[in-house]
Amino acid sequence: MRSDILGKYTPYNSIVHRLDPRFKFFALILLMVIVFLPFGNYTNRFIVLGILSLIIGIIMIVGKVSFKSFFRSLSSLWLMFIFLLIFMFFIPTKGEYPIYSFNENYTLYWDNLLQVLHIIIRLVLMIALTIILTSTTLPMDITYALDWYLTPLKVVKFPTQVVSLTISLALRFIPTLLNEANRIMNAQKSRGVDYNRGFFVAKIKSITTLIIPLLVSCFSRSDELAIAMEARGYDPYKTRSRYKSLHFTYKDLLALLFIILVAGLVITFSILSSTIGGFDDVINFIWGIKTI
């Protein structure tokens, strides 16, 4: 069960793994934002998204993120794709080339298809970005990065260390609780609970046989954990030292410059395309052939 979790940390030693988590965190947010920028017409959008996909794909290869498990886990997006198409069918839209027309109001255009594809691609890219971060960075390091970004809040006496410790404990217990859930499910199955069959209500009922024991064990676990932490001298209000520290090296600087360059280009393109228009026009403008 454990190996199937999407985005689980994979202990390779690639360049992406070795980069500073603070940089990776920043890059993730930046790239996510630029994926969602407007780029004018569909040609523009798909060209930019294509380039971004290529970059993200290369990062995935370098970071040794498994494409196979990535695409397998995306298979449920098909459902969303179909759902969105049906949704589009019922929303009155205008387009030039109809695919299927019921009447004037209920028509599915090629434009709709592109629109849905556009949404899906952006979602896939966003998921890919998140997976790159989580599968190349130890949860603890992500927490350190988060803690670093929260540092300014210390001025207003915000307990940043408490927050980051809470998050790291939550991350630490995910696999433990998944194993526990698995165990409870098996125990309930052996007592005749069927998790797969039945309609909605029956399914909800069978799920409660999992959720309640899981919650109970969660509480007793957290209680024991709190005692164990206290027994090892944890005091949330005392200053704690750090076992690990983050190092921002020249590699991180190069990567940061690269990401800022990409983001800068995409943002410029986004602004230009909203003021100028088509992709050709933007390219011509950049080469100085055409002026506004």
Binding site: R172, A228, Y243
Partner: protein, 275 residues
Amino acid sequence: MEKEKIIEVKDLIFGYEKDSTILKCISFDIFKGEYVTLIGHNGSGKSTLAKLLSYILEPTSGKVYIEGQELNEKSIKDIRSKIGIVFQNPDNQFIGSTVEDDIAFGLENRNIKQDVMKKTVLEFAKKVGMDKFLNKEPEELSGGQKQRVAIAGILALNLKIIIFDEATSMLDPEGVEEIRKLILNMKEENPELTVISITHDIEEAYLSDRVIILNDGKVYKNDIPENVFKDEEEMRKIDLDIPFVLKIKNELAARNIIIPREIKTIEGVANYLCQ
């Protein structure tokens, strides 16, 4: 020579409800550098006693003194810096996300400098034989290995007293054996260290310096293991067995083969017989 008392339990009474008491007036002393095991069958009150010693529960009456300091609400923080506790469930005391993070947790709480911490973590990981697993996550470790990490985390704090609160009860036989050996090694390396082990493992009890048997909320016996386990019939009466090694020794003694007292393991007996 008068030995130095490190833990003193005086007339300890405890009950979850008013009219039913689980511990009925328990008193005993533990001396510096001793390795004491507390045993008893299920329901004898040994896990309750463990919780009282670590102040997870408050006694109904009676007192616990640690190095002369009374255990109460005020002194608990101070006392916790003297006592390390290894708990029962290996998962629920693994705080860090990797082995090294977990060993470092207690050190971080003490605000120890990073470079010192790195050395200490490595040193104690080596001591418990986990130095090759520093980057491993808890999910990749066995129960015995997780307990060893917990022990390393406590040893690194350089404490005077370590309490094992049924630390082996959730482990497989190999894990139990690992921890048993580790405790003995620990004692050998640092004779000053006081170890209290609350356990149901009579084999472990046999290896300790002194055994305290709890039965029905009272101290039933408090003596060296040879004396405690002398009478098999008596032990049966309180639902306890005698150690396997001792059984073999007794059987051999019935055939006029006397094994010396110092030999406490099966391997030891086998080696002695082959001489």
